[in-house]
């Protein structure tokens, strides 16, 4: 048993399980996909760092058996920027919730994108502030209910990947918890991209979001997530009208640009030489 446990769950801090997430919470699905993705990159476990902010999703850091850094709300990317600049050889995955990343953390998000620093951001987007019990986030679709929007929120949401693009991000992908294999694949692609990469993972929060909005339980939420998604490849062949309410998954954009940490170290060795 010990052998099997070791081999299968080497990257989990098994003594910390079961985790604190609610039954059916998508955080675990995304976290599992992240583990498989890291495994597939072949990175040395010692070099892998998980940085996270504050939120249900950010608790993932505590369960992952790497160097793990659970920071303050919204600031994960700023901590990660410091660490990456200090130790460019480390591989940083930055887990954030939608609120953590795009509300309080919005500034660090756009600046990480602008610098194109080699951090792998994985945003678990459950469209809500889960940990504090269901307030609307900047990614809550207009009209949806939340404890602080009892009549439905009037705010327009960000499209996170469009925002990232506007800020200069060079890689962005969207996956869904209902397609864990594809998600894993997208995280691998983000990780191997040089520069700042953004993987948005849509994830069900049956407790703080699903229930209030009568979206059913975790299974229903996953099913409808799957039904309303379409891959970027298939979307390219589909009429715009049909795409209206669809979530497009896959690599949304990817291109090359100078990576900040590398540029920095190159510049200082140039100076010296």
């Amino acid at each position: 048993m010990a052998l099997i446990e070791h081999l299968t769950q080497e990257y989990l801090r098994t003594k910390k399980l079961p985790h604190i997430w609610c039954p059916g919470c998508g955080n675990g699905i995304v976290t599992a996909a992240l583990i498989r993705a890291i495994e597939r990159t072949g990175y040395d476990q010692r070099d892998v760092v998980i940085v996270s902010g504050i939120g249900c999703s950010s608790r993932a850091a505590g369960y992952l058996n790497f160097n793990t850094l659970h920071t303050t709300h919204g600031r994960a990317l700023a901590f990660a920027t410091g660490l990456k600049m200090a130790r460019p050889e480390l591989k940083l995955f930055v887990i954030m919730g939608d609120g953590d990343c795009s509300a309080i953390g919005g500034n660090h998000f756009i600046h990480a994108a602008r610098r194109n620093i080699d951090l792998n951001a994985v945003i678990i987007n459950n469209h809500i502030y889960g940990m504090t019990g269901g307030q609307h986030s900047p990614l809550t679709p207009t009209g949806m209910k939340a404890t602080t929007a009892p009549r439905g929120t009037l705010e327009r949401p960000f499209d996170l990947l469009v925002l990232a693009r506007g800020a200069g991000a060079t890689f962005a992908a969207r996956g869904i918890a209902a397609q864990p294999r594809q998600l894993e694949q997208l995280i691998v692609r983000g990780a191997t991209h040089k520069g700042f990469s953004v993987v948005e993972a849509l994830s069900p929060c049956p407790i703080a979001y699903g229930r209030r909005n009568k979206l059913g339980g975790a299974v229903e939420m996953l099913r409808s997530m799957k039904d309303s998604s379409i891959s970027v490849e298939r979307a390219a062949e589909t009429e715009d009208a049909e795409l209206k309410d669809k979530t497009i998954t896959g690599v949304i954009y990817s291109f090359d640009a100078p990576e900040y940490a590398e540029e920095y170290y190159r510049s200082i060795s140039d100076n010296k030489g």
Binding site: L7, T8, R13, G24, G28, R46, A218, V219
Partner: protein, 86 residues
């Protein structure tokens, strides 16, 4: 830690009952309808139906399902280094 080890056609499926929260996701997404909930709200498997496709593993939000065979092949290397797994 109580773990139920069951044999399927292509590999073992370890279902960690202590971690399972009975969400039913694996049951819903198993293409073979090989899984069901027992009276304690924990998942069990009907062995003969399982094809070891691994879908349940990827869907379980609680790390409660692990397909042994697949992982064995991946983790063939010999990893070392201090391990403060807590």
């Amino acid at each position: 830690m109580a773990q139920a080890k069951e044999n399927g056609p292509d590999g073992d499926l370890i279902n960690n009952r202590n971690w399972c929260k009975g969400c039913g996701i694996c049951i819903a997404f198993c293409p073979r309808e090989a899984l069901f909930m027992d009276e304690y709200g924990k998942v069990v498997k009907e062995q003969e139906k399982c094809t070891a496709c691994g879908i349940c593993e990827t869907f379980c939000p609680d790390f409660a399902i692990v397909l042994v065979k697949r992982r064995l092949s991946i983790n063939a290397g010999n990893k070392t280094g201090p391990d403060a797994r807590q």
